[in-house]
Symmetry: D2
Subunit: 382 residues, 4 copies
């Protein structure tokens, strides 16, 4: 793979590398790791890249890699830059025949997302969007149970993503992560809702298979001096009459990365917490709660979508990097099938793509519109 962004000191670039390397299927072949040449060079060196595949711009990387023999060039690009710098390299990569992995939110605007979608559809290339949390095996288990109708008709969906790290005006205190994520020019029109609200919305739609149809949002900028929302609550309507609540906040002081989802149907429901990801609570109206665990022996109780995404037996906790790794792993296996002409299994194809990217950008548009509206309900439009 060729990485765009992710130079030393970047947060998410390192995460992508851990995740990609873990299973021994993917190597870092080249990179345009920073727009600052010095950092690009140093970072490439630290990552053991050969001198001639440390590039200074993504344009250079894509052009030069394309010029290499097919069996030498990178197989795909992975884009880990801030939001405003997703679209251009993604589009250029697709235009030049490279598959793409891209951080969420997929683009800076919904319009860009639509363009990428059209390009992906036209080229038949694969775009993988790293909505990490859908890579956890017990999230996949929850989705499988919902699909099978285990709990009857779905009624209620509660999802929340609470962090505390923006409780202060850290963007003015030298925190680079905070700086770009709260800057409308780099992050987009939403703050917390774009950064983590999109994860929550995706998780809800992924697990339930139901799409959000309307929403009513109250967005707040809690910390004075900040330029984007850092907090919000959203009432949700879904397909098939399900309803729910979405909370996303970055000012819940003392919270780390508290993403939690609960879904209830007629007969019971599930609860999953990202901070204890190997456990899926399965609640029942008429019998005791069950605790499903990733990697367990009672494999008959677990869907193949869950078991295929575990690397260890039960009791050996897997975490965030493994969930991230699952997305890369499934993406890589899909590409390998393309190479050898075989047909990827549904489990291999189970990673977020360009359609999820479009939904995410639409979520941002709709939730911001609702936040500014005096009417209760805003119809979710794409």
């Amino acid at each position: 793979m060729g990485m765009i962004g992710g130079g030393k000191d970047a947060f998410i670039g390192a995460i992508h590398r851990h995740a990609a390397f873990m299973d021994g299927l993917i190597e870092l072949a080249c990179g345009a790791l920073s727009i600052q040449p010095e950092i690009a060079r140093e970072s490439g060196k630290q990552l053991f890249l050969p001198q001639d595949r440390i590039y200074l711009t993504f344009e250079e990387m894509i052009a030069k890699e394309k010029a290499l023999p097919e069996d030498k060039r990178m197989d795909f690009v992975t884009i880990v830059t801030p939001n405003f710098a997703h679209f251009a390299p993604a589009m250029l990569a697709l235009e030049n025949g490279f598959h793409v992995v891209i951080e969420k939110p997929m683009t800076f605007t919904l319009e860009e997302a639509m363009q990428l979608k059209r390009k992906v559809d036209a080229t038949g290339l694969v775009l993988c969007l790293t909505h990490t949390y859908s890579g956890y095996p017990m999230v996949k288990q929850a989705r499988a149970m919902m699909r099978e109708g285990t709990f009857g008709k779905i009624r209620k969906i509660y999802v929340e993503y609470a962090q505390g790290w923006l409780s202060r005006l850290s963007e003015r205190e030298g925190n680079a992560q905070a700086a770009w994520r709260t800057d409308p020019k780099r992050s987009g029109k939403a703050g917390a809702m774009g950064d983590i609200g999109t994860h929550a919305a995706h998780l809800a739609e992924y697990i339930t298979g139901l799409k959000i149809t309307k929403l009513c949002a109250a967005l707040n900028t809690v910390v004075e001096g900040r330029h984007l929302d850092d907090d919000g609550g959203v009432l949700l309507g879904f397909e098939q009459e399900a309803t729910g609540v979405l909370i996303a906040t970055q000012v819940a002081a003392g919270e780390e990365n508290n993403l939690t989802i609960r879904v209830y149907g007629e007969k019971g429901g599930i609860e999953w917490k990202q901070q204890e990801p190997n456990t899926l609570l399965v609640k029942w109206l008429d019998k005791p709660m069950e605790v499903l665990r990733a990697g367990s022996n009672y494999t008959s109780a677990l869907s193949s979508f869950a078991t295929r995404n575990c690397r260890t037996p039960g009791g050996h906790p897997e975490g965030y990097l493994e969930a991230f790794g699952n997305i890369y792993h499934n993406f890589a296996q899909t590409l390998m099938c393309r190479l050898d002409g075989s047909r990827p299994t549904p489990e291999m194809l189970d990673f977020p793509g360009v359609d999820e990217g479009v939904r995410g950008m639409a979520f941002i548009d709709n939730v911001v519109a609702s936040g500014q509206s005096d009417e209760k309900w805003t119809t979710f439009s794409v």
Copy 2:
């Protein structure tokens, strides 16, 4: 005490008795335990009441008890009937000089609540409203920390009360509890919001000391054939710019009595779960989470409002009945102070009263109004 309602097979009457008896300060002196004479008589006998103090109507009870010598008559009435039958006995008791304990919601309508308030103010009698959950010591601890400004300005308040017991149309299946609670003629204009939403709203205001100023509600009747809301989500505005979310649902299949509150200020916050009530999680922006426990030795860390409401040392779990008992205990001690002319301490006076009853009825009115409105925000009016 004299009990109105609470005959055999009633749920909450038995709870009140356990709670009242626990500390040895209160005895059941008499009762009008059912409107069905046979049940009233049998229930009284089972409770070891003397024959002549088993009454068939609350009017009879109040009249005959008043006719007894002062040191023989009951000291107060406790009203544990369905909502529609709260006001009349409460008013009659107050008019005849008896203090009153009353189940929540205080009345059937806000107008009745206002009348009770005026009567209490006029007579100087004590009305105690059994919002049980504010009787837990760790709830009182949370309130004490908020009052002292431990976390700086309060920013976010999340409260939810999730039950699953109305996931089916149980009111048509012979469930007496379900029958009256989902019947607008007996329960009032709200279902879940009246039954448990009022608890959640009270808990939020009790802990933070901030009043709800506006709300945006989506109320649902999820189970077909039901006549009142059984589910809802509410976006909240509070005094001093705090905001929040309230969830109340009785169709979260598999949930028992999952009342949870989290409050975040500038420096940290608290989390309390009714189902693990002896623990208060205290989260901090800049240091590790602390786990405060009821009855602990490190008493300097706990407020007197918490410690005075524990009966056992740390590690001996106290529960719902003890929380309920604390409300009775504080109420009883307040009455005993009246009798001996002493001044009750702030800790003794720490039980919900007629003002909280009025707020609860106003919450019902406002949340139902918002639920029917197309405008996003409804100003909370009393």
Copy 3:
């Protein structure tokens, strides 16, 4: 009931009263609440006892109560004095025809315990031993599942009781509880093993129905200057080839009252923690763990021994006082059956008695002997 010991400031006397009063079946009729006359009088007054039933010695109480007409006198005595002062009042009560409730350990020596056993057998009176923890509904549920062979043959039993309150030499710092419990003249030949080890051993035998047959103990006096063991670990052999480990310590600094038991059979097992008593974890070799909860709706999953000892529906936590209350409640119902000539149900008879008291005293003897022995195994003898 007539209480012996339990004057103001005593710990366990107050607990007994809360527990006894809770269900409205038992009243405090009289007391010999302290050997210090002033405290006995004041305590009696605080507890609303009539002047003439505040006694200064247990001999006086038993004599004068016996002289009252049968329908006026106390029905039983409850003995809440330190260990060395259990036997004399218990024996005198039995000799005078009174039933007895008594704190554990039952006596000061095994020999005294044997004498009580013979007296109980001879008189047919009821002796109830307050091993509180067997009063919890989910402990009873665990026992019921074991009895039914739910998990196949029982293999492993791990029980531990960890406290931290004796981590310092508190007996020299004015802590009255610590003073008598660490004093061989008042507590007996064992410290931690007598105070809490007996609870752990009883719980293990109660739940599994298997008796300890041999043990290997390492007892320690960790805090310098202390006169009894404050810590110990014990390897256990049980009937039917089950084995286990018992830990009892009062120097686990930071622990409150951490009593935990796990039992494993061929097919699965249970885990119960006193500090979260309403939950019973049920683990299975071949399927997901289940979480059984006290008071739940899925009553078919719960034994009548569990459900009869719950006062509230699921999600309304009951605690230590309710468990204690269950012992009093079952004892009281057994006595009421005697009064009206009916036959108590097995559920009513489910409280610890004189046999458990003898086993407890034998445990103390055997564990102390093993602690002093250089041989690995000491056969458990009574």
Copy 4:
């Protein structure tokens, strides 16, 4: 690295690869992946090894790799065969100048372990023993707190490792893992005590810095027909008068990989559970429990030994593979220092080595001897 053992379908070989690859510092250069040539070849191909570096025996691999130019040959071997096949390849690798990573227990016998120790001492090569659990950041945090005397003198150490996967005679049911681990010819003289008891003993010594000085073991073969212990309880004495209990069992039906350690000193203590590895409970005698979390912001509260072994910020759970990866990462960084002549930091050197391997083998010898002895205490000898 060159891998010995770990062909397809082996459990621990795949784990080693995930762990080694994760940080991008280590590549699989060659392998002797199975003693069955067909499997060795297929496995090598699946792992993308070049044809000429897929070896059929470890002797061939070591010889041929040594013959390669220094910058082409493997830097170290990693040995992931069953216990009986650890010593020979390790010794041959050391004799030929290769560093070694080796699975625990280090050898088949204590004598072999002593020989390896002498060879390591003589050659100055690095031997890394994969006691995974000491790779977790919060284990390192616990160790750092103990070293700093945070809790005063250490008094009690409880460690247990409970699994259920050998509850049946799986070694006769085609389970290859069970087959070798319960076979004295391949596993050694201990079963559960060798497989997981050694982990528990190492964890206790690693965290506390105290060595076991005596022990009293009861070992059991619970499942009929098995040839080694599958269960045991051990009373422990440590240096500096600390005492403790170690439990290791593979017949706790329903347990996954429940490794838990608690250590108590004069002022408080710690609790860590492998199944929730990112949390360290810190208990205090005189103040509320604190919950330390891996990756947290309050870095001043965390030791550099903890923070250097986290890859993600708080709330992004890391697990077993990351802990395993930390051992490889620290080992690799130590080797890189050797290559560039710099001095590794104490944090880099923080991985188990040959001394821990010798202690582990001595633990096996001593615990088996104690299990067979009628005397209570066996002095721990090496």
